[in-house]
């Protein structure tokens, strides 16, 4: 318990040290979450569009040539 207190205290610099690490972790986590969600969202949207296109092509061509796109 005492060493835990000492750890928080950081020789009197606790406020500076812990806020530096706190903000550091928060900023990097934020960038990670934003990047992850944007990648997932864009790839999901692309999937839907490509499937719709595939389905439409399949209908137009009587379902024979659904894989020829790209």
């Amino acid at each position: 318990m005492e060493s835990f207190q000492a750890m928080l205290h950081m020789g009197g610099y606790g406020g500076y040290v812990w806020s530096a690490y706190g903000v550091g972790i928060a900023v990097l986590a934020l960038v990670l979450v934003l990047s992850l969600t944007s990648a997932r969202k864009a790839e999901a949207e692309l999937d839907v569009l490509q499937q719709a296109r595939r389905a439409r092509r399949g209908k137009d061509l009587g379902g024979t040539d659904s894989e020829s796109q790209e």
Partner: protein, 244 residues
Amino acid sequence: MHRFANPARFLRLAKVILPWSNAIAVLCLGSGLYFALFGSPADYQQGESVRIMYVHVPSAWMGMFCYTAMAVFSAMALIWKHPLADLLAKATAPVGAAFTFLCLLTGSLWGKPMWGTWWAWDARLTSMLILLFLYLGYMALVNAFDDPERGHKAAAILALVGAVNVPVIKWSVDWWNTLHQPASVVKMGGPAIDSSMLVPLLLMAVGFKAYWISILILRGRAEIAGQKIRVIRMAQIHAASQGE
């Protein structure tokens, strides 16, 4: 060069690299944080406040590294019309901005107890602030056009023009009197930093690099998917206007 220009090849390569960069980032940052906060000694003059260095210094390196990468990608895009380079430059910008912001903020938190001030308009601090504004300007410019091609081109030129700031940051402490001290790790005659403190510093630096690679892959994937979505949408509009 154009071997890597193909988005499909990038996606295949990204799939192989991503688990590795994730693992390296988690391992290095995890052990780095342990050593930075608990497993390393206090400084003989600065006491425990020296622990801020393990975030501050690698962030500063990343701020400059990401800008250099962004400028190189931009040059490749402008000169060779490399189709992926624009996307990678755009994907790097937010990471670089985040690290530069962290560098400035942690520097401020370190400067207050050690120097006695949150901020000083010396050459090193000012040039680092300019770097943050260059990132913000790049991110604003790249999205400011309806036509993404034009946005990429304008932003690439800004990235190249701003690149002159990087060597100014690096050597500002040698060229002018600054409140900021000169370099410790990369200097003639070996690092002026004890090995027990160099370990967490380098672990954090490697961890940040791996983090950048992971984010670059994620954002690159988002950009590539976005570009494909645009192409499909354009084709749909085109087809609709032809009265299908």
